[in-house]
């Protein structure tokens, strides 16, 4: 589904990703872990198409297409979804209207009919139950005045509505208490199928107790320095990132 081949990226003059290789197949969950500043969020942003980052080398293939050639909106329409680490507050645009526009733009792109009000509302109702979000929130301005947990839950709601093929959760656990974390993780788990894949970007092992990964990759200084199964996350939790750092310096 996704083939990341030797990706180098920088922001302004600073190199952040220094040759990332990663392949993800349908149905898989990959966790990307690493200390602060290792390039985890940059990788998520590069996949979603944030313009602040310049890819200087390498290629990314998504479902057989060149992802880097696509605009952010086309990536979304092809099935990429980024759950933001810091969801943006947008006064004057309600989540409902936002989702209606987004969903219909995606359907248009895929040559499907746009949804009428009734089918949209029934779809929304179904997804609200799935991700356990307060309906009243969705009629308010997007993320404006939402708590940290509400914002993250809204990201998962949007993900449920858009049914992406590849979901990238960028530090979705940051700032969540244990109950919010469980609800968000439940939502993500319910959305898993054999056809879609998930990348979980996180600093801590905690989230991975709820969203169990098939693979864990450790990012350090813009490279994947270690890959393994979910046990690697536990080992990291026990030994700390200094273990990786010292191992790298020895090498």
């Amino acid at each position: 589904m996704l083939k990341i081949n030797n990706i180098h990226a920088r922001v302004e003059e600073k190199a952040i990703l220094n040759g990332i290789n990663l392949e993800i197949k349908p149905g898989e969950v990959h966790a990307i872990m690493g200390p602060n500043g290792s390039g985890k969020s940059t990788l998520a942003s590069v996949l979603a198409g944030r313009e602040d980052f310049e890819v200087t080398e390498g290629s990314i293939e998504f479902l057989g297409k060149d992802l880097l050639e696509m605009s952010p909106e086309d990536r979304a329409r092809e099935g990429v979804f980024l759950a933001f680490q810091y969801p943006v507050e947008i006064p004057g645009v309600s989540t409902v209207n936002f989702m209606k526009t987004a969903l219909n733009k995606i359907r248009e792109y895929r040559g499907q009919d746009t949804l009428d009000a009734v089918s949209f509302l029934s779809l929304m109702k179904e997804k609200i139950e799935l991700v356990e979000i307060d309906k009243a929130l969705l009629n308010r301005s997007l993320n404006e005045g939402f708590s940290g947990g509400e914002k993250k839950r809204n990201e998962i709601f949007q993900m449920a509505m858009l049914e992406p093929k590849l979901a990238i959760l960028d530090e979705t656990d940051s700032g969540l208490d244990i109950d919010a974390l469980r609800i968000v993780a439940n939502g993500v788990n319910k959305l898993r199928t054999k056809d879609n894949a998930t990348i979980v970007v996180t600093h801590y092992q905690r989230l991975l107790e709820y969203i169990v990964p098939d693979y864990v990759h450790v990012l350090y200084k813009g490279k994947i320095v270690k890959s393994g199964t979910k046990e690697l996350a536990l080992e990291l939790e026990a030994k700390g990132y200094d273990w990786i750092k010292s191992e790298m310096e020895v090498a």
């Binding site: 313009e51 004057g92 987004a102």
Partner: protein
């Protein structure tokens, strides 16, 4: 230097070319206004009140003194500019002259709508208060006005139907210099809703001044909406003064979508306790349009509330100017006065000059002001795009949301829908 001379010369030659003998009414007021105008003339570049808004330079570019001083003939081939949305209770001016054939005032209304020159005949002192101004264009209007209306809502009459005042300019073959005056009194516990709109057809330059005084009696209410969406080359200076008596309420909306150079002076005088005033502005400019809103709220009495919100979206090479004065006089204790001006610049060449001016003499008041100028939030744009929304649509959504904060405050549903439709069309079309 040469431009300064030109401006002075336009002012001087304008004064020389004005012949009050051409007018058959309001001569006493005209003479006084003209005398006052002569002492100040058209604003020069250094004039503090007009320093960002070169009305004089614009006039010099497009008009000779005699073209400015002589009223243009009315032409009724402007029917296509009329809005079907507002066909009832409509007053129409064409090139500054009241058009009886295009106006549709129903006789069952208790609201008096009378020619201002007739009203003056029975009450000669009606307009004297208007002469207490230092605005050169208000004085010029009082010198040159060719037609006007006196509108009166009697005590206890709450008029439900909005009064639609439409100023049409036909500039298809000739330059237009049009000057109208409105005098509106809303009686005690009475209310009136006014929608005023200007429209221009043709590409000849138009110079238009409108001066209006609205007096709101005790416990009365006025809701006033000005819509400026003129194609062509309109140079307009509008002076609107609202005098509020005790426990009255004023809501104003100033919506500017097009025109070449638009200057609105809105003055709210709170001359009674327990008043409430809300004034909103929305300006969407493009090309080389200049939109200038100068507002003044003068709290003269205690225990009143005023709230002001003006928002602007500027694209192309357009310019925005906002100046908001709040005066709280020594006796006006317990005043609450709030002001906010927010601007988005959508191109590198668009500019805005914004200046809040608070002068507070009372010590037990709550006042605040704030102004922001920025660009479209890139992070918000990316957020919308990352959900599959094309960049152009995402931009339009954000701009619409910015404008909607003002539009949502309009209570009249029909008016709100109309404004919404022109703003939506404008934002989707241009962005």
């Amino acid at each position: 230097m040469s431009t300064a001379t030109e401006k002075q010369s336009l002012s001087t030659s304008l004064i020389a070319s004005i012949d009050l003998a051409q007018f058959s009414f309001a001569n006493e007021q005209r003479t006084k206004a003209f005398e006052a105008f002569k002492t100040i003339g058209l604003p020069e570049p250094k004039n503090e009140e007009y320093k960002f808004t070169p009305v004089t330079r614009s006039l010099s570019k497009h008009f000779s003194a005699s073209e400015l001083s002589k009223p243009t003939d009315a032409n009724e081939s402007v029917k296509s500019l009329l809005n079907p949305e507002f066909s009832e209770n409509r007053v129409v001016f064409v090139n500054g002259m009241y058009s009886k054939t295009l106006s549709t005032i129903t006789s069952d209304s208790k609201v008096t709508v009378q020619s201002l020159n007739e009203a003056l005949a029975s009450n000669p002192s009606l307009l004297f208060d208007q002469l207490n101004t230092t605005d050169p264009f208000a004085l010029l209007n009082s010198t040159l006005w060719s037609d006007g209306l006196y509108i009166n809502v009697p005590k206890n009459i709450e008029e439900q139907k909005p009064l639609f005042i439409h100023h049409l300019h036909d500039a298809s073959s000739e330059k237009v210099s049009a000057h109208t005056k409105l005098f509106i009194t809303v009686g005690e516990s009475a209310s009136l809703q006014i929608i005023e709109k200007t429209d221009t057809q043709g590409n000849q330059p138009v110079f238009n001044t409108i001066s209006e005084d609205i007096i709101v009696g005790e416990n009365g209410a006025v809701n006033y909406c000005k819509i400026q969406n003129d194609a062509g080359q309109l140079i307009q200076v509008a002076n609107t003064t609202i005098h509020q008596h005790r426990a009255s309420r004023a809501d104003t909306y100033t919506l500017t979508l097009n025109g070449q150079l638009i200057r609105n002076n809105l003055n709210i005088i709170i001359d009674g306790e327990g008043c409430e005033s809300h004034f909103y502005g929305l300006y969407l400019s493009d090309g080389d349009t200049l939109v200038d809103n100068h507002t003044t709220v003068d709290h003269k009495k205690p225990n009143s509330f005023s709230n002001e919100l003006y928002k602007g979206l500027m694209d192309g090479k357009s310019k925005g100017v906002f100046n908001g004065k709040i005066y709280v006089r020594p006796h006006a204790q317990k005043t609450n006065a709030f002001q906010s001006n927010r601007n988005l610049l959508l191109s590198d060449d668009a500019t805005v000059n914004t200046k809040p001016q608070l002068e507070i003499w009372a010590d037990d008041v709550k006042c605040s002001h704030g102004c922001t100028t920025g660009q479209l939030d890139e992070e918000a744009l990316f957020y919308l795009q990352s959900r599959g929304i094309p960049k152009a649509t995402a931009k339009a959504m954000l701009l619409y949301a910015f404008a909607a904060e003002v539009m949502e405050t309009i209570k009249n549903e029909q008016l709100k829908n109309y404004i919404d439709s022109i703003v939506s069309e404008r934002l989707h079309k241009s962005y």
